[in-house]
């Protein structure tokens, strides 16, 4: 809380009377030091002359480009990037080629089929009636239910297959 208050105060520049006095005294103190220092020995008179003479023989360094502008570094980075992309693509392809059992989205990591129900809630009689009415109105419902039943049996989802079967029987 105290930290937050300090941040807010510093952000808003809020100063209490004590801080204002302190700031003023800091200005005065450092100003006094500046004045006192100005009285102390300063640079020698021939400083400028010596400096100018030295500068005559000093060559100016050529402008160096920042590291990231180096062509070598750019090539190296491009190579690393390409290598990385190639690696990722190879790995992806390799994982596509791996033969996993057809899961239809119901296979877990263990490759064991999970025999779970479908999302069709047929226990509710009202909803079931609406569903059956809808299915009855569609001419291709029975073949579709048959093929789904077959698919679920083949993929080991027996509960789901039974649901399809019960729907198909109800339509008859």
């Amino acid at each position: 809380m105290n930290q937050m208050w300090i941040k807010i105060q510093s952000f808003l520049g809020i100063e209490s009377t004590e801080e204002q006095v302190l700031t003023a005294k800091l200005h005065m103190a450092y100003g006094e030091i500046r004045k006192a220092e100005a009285k102390r020995p300063s640079l020698s008179r021939d400083f400028d002359l010596r400096l100018v003479n030295q500068l005559q023989s000093i060559p100016m360094e050529q402008k160096t480009n920042p590291v990231w502008q180096s062509r070598r570094l750019q090539y190296a980075m491009s190579f690393v990037l390409l290598f990385g992309m190639a690696f990722v693509l190879t790995q992806r392809n390799a994982s596509h080629n791996s033969k996993t059992e057809e899961s239809a989205g119901v296979v877990g990591n263990t490759r064991n089929f999970q025999d779970t129900n479908t999302s069709v809630d047929v226990s509710d009689s009202y909803r079931k009636r609406i569903l059956l009415n809808e299915l009855k109105s569609q001419s291709g419902s029975i073949p579709a239910l048959q093929s789904m039943e077959r698919y679920y049996r083949e993929t080991g989802r027996l509960n789901a297959a039974e649901e399809m079967e019960s729907l198909r029987i109800s339509l008859k």
């Binding site: 510093s10 800091l26 450092y30 030091i33 006192a36 220092e37 500068l55």
Partner: protein, 192 residues
């Protein structure tokens, strides 16, 4: 024309080979840089050599100088680094002790240097208290109130952002206030 604009024009001239323009650029800062070097190495001859070296180094590398940071803060940093190098070299080689009094053996410390100046009691007291604070807080106070640098310039010198500078300055004053309030001698300090 602002000081920064003048600096930019001079920098262009220098980069095209005008050596007198370099002298014009650095002359307003020579004495301040010298005083900073003296405060660190405590020897005016060494300090003069440091300033000369710093200005030569600055000239050499001016092609790479970007005008975002002010010329003074750029040269200030060179002077501070060169002063630190000299102090380290002296310490390693034990060429000459910096100060016989162990209390005054510090690096980059303006506070102790003030002991040798003729100052009022209050300023001396304030410097004594500032001397008890952490380096980051001492520095931010010095940059702000002694060097009269802007927040941006301080941020460039301290390698941090402006928000950090403001927060550090605020905390420095809070600590200083606390140190004074804790001290019996500080009674009446905050009375105008």
């Amino acid at each position: 024309m602002t000081l920064r604009e003048k600096e930019k024009i001079l920098l262009q001239k220098i980069k095209s080979g005008d050596k007198t323009a370099y002298m014009t650029l650095v002359s307003p800062f020579r004495e301040r840089l010298f005083r900073k070097a003296v405060s660190m190495v405590k020897d005016s001859d060494d300090a003069e050599d440091i300033v000369q070296d710093a200005l030569i180094s600055g000239y050499r590398s001016i092609q790479n100088f970007r005008a975002e940071a002010g010329v003074y803060t750029w040269l200030y940093r060179i002077v501070v680094n060169k002063s630190k190098d000299l102090l380290a070299k002296k310490k390693r080689g034990k060429e000459r002790p910096i100060d016989d009094n162990p209390e005054n053996q510090f690096i980059d410390e303006r506070v102790g240097y003030e002991k040798k100046l003729e100052l009022s009691e209050e300023t001396r007291y304030l410097m004594e208290k500032i001397g008890l604070m952490e380096e980051a807080y001492r520095k931010v106070l010095e940059y702000r109130y002694f060097e009269n640098l802007s927040y941006n310039e301080i941020a460039a010198l301290m390698d941090c952002n402006v928000g950090t500078v403001k927060s550090r300055l605020f905390k420095a004053k809070e600590f200083l206030k606390h140190l004074i309030q804790e001290d019996n001698r500080g009674q009446g300090f905050f009375e105008k």
